[in-house]
């Protein structure tokens, strides 16, 4: 039985967060009426000239810096020629030779907690194409509709080395780039709206062979789950082809999530000859040091560095630290709670536990959490000063989530304050002991399990508000017959 090795490289198109398009002053907002955000330049009308958006360049430079890549002081825009109705000019302005971002690296954390370094070959600026709508009713049938609002939207295409060896590694890398582009504020990364699109180059080879097998390119991967499933399907398909005596054909394939399969896109087969050449409408992009320094001056602490710092400074394990640095908002939230409580471990437990579960249930981002960092800190302070027990704290958290105010307001309104006054606890415990003489004699005869019964009775009587440590202490004393 032949052992196969999977080789995967990803091309990720991430939409840059600019207000206007990369070569025109038309807006980039999502969801506008068709063709209301497509101006003469986006439509490729005769006589127009593209002028490069400074912000798109600035955002690309930030990405380059974040992956430790060389920023090209001189880069060139090229025309990628192909014909499709949603590409009015007949070419896409992209970069081919001399892209703006050179080689870099990112680290991914695998399931077994090992860290793997994945190479980024390059990242280049380009414009997006428009959108084709296929609707049989259009024009009475036989037509496709074209919306050019997306045409000219700035994209950064991030090309990886063929360094991934499994679908899971490919997903980990895609997630890493997704985390990074949002972290440094260059893209909203919204996959439903097409702001983060992934193409996968997949091949297989006998384990131990150094030459790569023939690869196929899978398009249309717009969720992390689809990336994993599509690559998994494609790997199995290629192995079946080879083991069945056939050869893998280099081609573009489309992933169909409904059937969970990839299939050949015949229309793209002949289009691989893009005849790139430098765009005569655009001069070489030359960046001076001041521009680059300015672009990266306010780069935040990067996710890997922050994860490492959470590990060292806050004493968190790799798992907690990596969860808490999933997004910058989440990391900021956590540190705000730590700053207000001085309790990193407890803060991590609450943020990764109750809060994460509640966010998940409500399907909202941390920025929309009805429980702010200050509110969670307030709750943790009431646990620390023993106003409430950990168990009642969950009840308080739920009330805060439902909008019942901050921790102190909820504790007051629901009367949840823990009873720590022994003047209140002692008579309660004495009454319970007096009401259960049988259990008392069992306990005194050495049946220590009965102790749990008394604790239960006290908790029931106090509606869960008695301080458990004090209950234990007073019960032991009273059951032993001491005053």
């Amino acid at each position: 039985m032949m052992q196969w090795e999977t080789v995967i490289g990803l091309e990720i198109h991430t939409q840059l967060a600019t207000r206007s398009k990369i070569f025109s002053g038309a807006p980039t907002a999502f969801g506008a009426e068709p063709n209301t955000q497509a101006c003469a330049i986006d439509l490729g009308l005769p006589g127009v000239l593209p002028v490069l958006n400074a912000e798109a360049v600035r955002l690309a430079v930030r990405f380059g810096k974040a992956i430790g890549a060389e920023i090209a002081r001189r880069s060139i825009f090229a025309r990628k020629n192909y014909f499709y109705p949603d590409l009015p000019k007949g070419y896409q302005i992209s970069q081919y030779e001399l892209p703006i971002v050179g080689e870099g690296r990112v680290e991914i954390v695998l399931d077994d907690a090992t860290v793997k370094s994945v190479g980024v070959t390059r990242a280049h600026l380009e414009e997006d194409a428009g959108k084709s709508l296929h609707d049989d009713k259009l024009g009475g049938g036989g037509y496709s509709g074209i919306d050019l609002n997306r045409a000219g939207t700035p994209l950064l295409e991030i090309v990886s080395e063929p360094d991934m060896r499994s679908p899971k590694e490919a997903v980990a890398y895609a997630r890493k780039i997704h985390q990074l582009v949002r972290w440094i504020g260059i893209s909203d990364g919204n996959m439903q709206e097409g702001s983060f699109r992934v193409d996968a180059n997949v091949s297989v080879r006998p384990r131990g062979q150094t030459l790569f097998g023939t690869r196929t390119e899978i398009k249309n991967l717009n969720s992390f789950r689809f990336i994993e499933r599509a690559i998994q399907f494609e790997v199995e398909r290629q192995i079946d082809v080879i083991e069945g005596g056939g050869t893998v054909v280099q081609e573009t394939r489309l992933y169909d999530p409904e059937r969970d399969e990839t299939r050949s896109m015949r229309s793209k087969e002949e289009a691989n000859d893009y005849r790139y050449f430098p765009d005569p409408d655009l001069l070489p992009l030359e960046l001076d040091v001041a521009f680059i320094v300015d672009a990266v001056a306010d780069l935040p602490e990067l996710p890997d560095a922050r994860r490492e710092r959470f590990h060292i400074q806050h004493g968190l394990g790799e798992y907690d630290a990596s969860l808490l640095t999933g997004s910058r908002d989440l990391a900021d939230y956590f540190e705000a709670v730590v700053a207000a409580t001085g309790e990193p471990k407890l803060a991590a437990n609450w943020v990764n536990g109750e809060l994460a579960a509640a966010l998940n249930r409500a399907d909202v981002e941390i920025a929309q959490s009805p429980v702010s960092a200050a509110m969670l800190a307030g709750l943790i302070r009431r646990i620390l000063d023993q106003t409430i027990s950990g168990k009642l704290a969950k009840q308080v958290f739920e009330a805060m989530w439902a909008g019942a105010g901050d921790a102190d307001q909820v504790i007051r309104a629901q009367g949840l304050r823990q009873i720590t006054d022994s003047g209140q606890l002692e008579p309660m415990i004495e009454a319970i002991i007096a009401a259960n003489p049988d259990q008392v004699s069992q306990y005194r005869a050495g049946k220590e399990k009965v102790f749990g019964f008394f604790v239960g009775q006290v908790m029931k009587e106090s509606k869960g508000k008695a301080n458990p440590r004090q209950v234990n202490e007073i019960l032991k004393r009273k059951l032993a017959g001491d005053p």
Partner: protein, 95 residues
């Protein structure tokens, strides 16, 4: 380097140019001559010359990220042979 008839057919197809069958041989000869000229220029030693991306010795000016183009859909679509619901209509494309 010289081009044959099948090269011409492929180039014409990629550029969506309708080249009459009787013209193919002439195009093949003309284009081969142009390539021949380029080959001759290859003989010049250009090691010390930086490749030129643009004939102008200038660099790209940048535009501030501001929305300056209002919606002119009605005007722009007046040029289009067919539109519906704000979409440009084209003969059906299938993938």
């Amino acid at each position: 380097m010289s081009l044959d008839a099948s090269d011409i057919e492929k180039i014409a197809h990629l550029a969506r140019l309708a080249v009459a069958p009787e013209s193919i041989e002439r195009y093949a000869a003309d284009l081969s001559n142009i390539l021949e000229l380029v080959t001759r220029m290859d003989a010049v030693d250009t090691h010390a010359v930086e490749p030129m991306a643009h004939p102008l010795h200038m660099s790209q000016r940048l535009r501030p990220d501001r929305v300056t183009e209002p919606d002119r859909r009605t005007l722009l679509q007046a040029n289009a042979p067919l539109t519906e619901r704000g979409l440009y209509l084209v003969p059906k494309v299938i993938d």
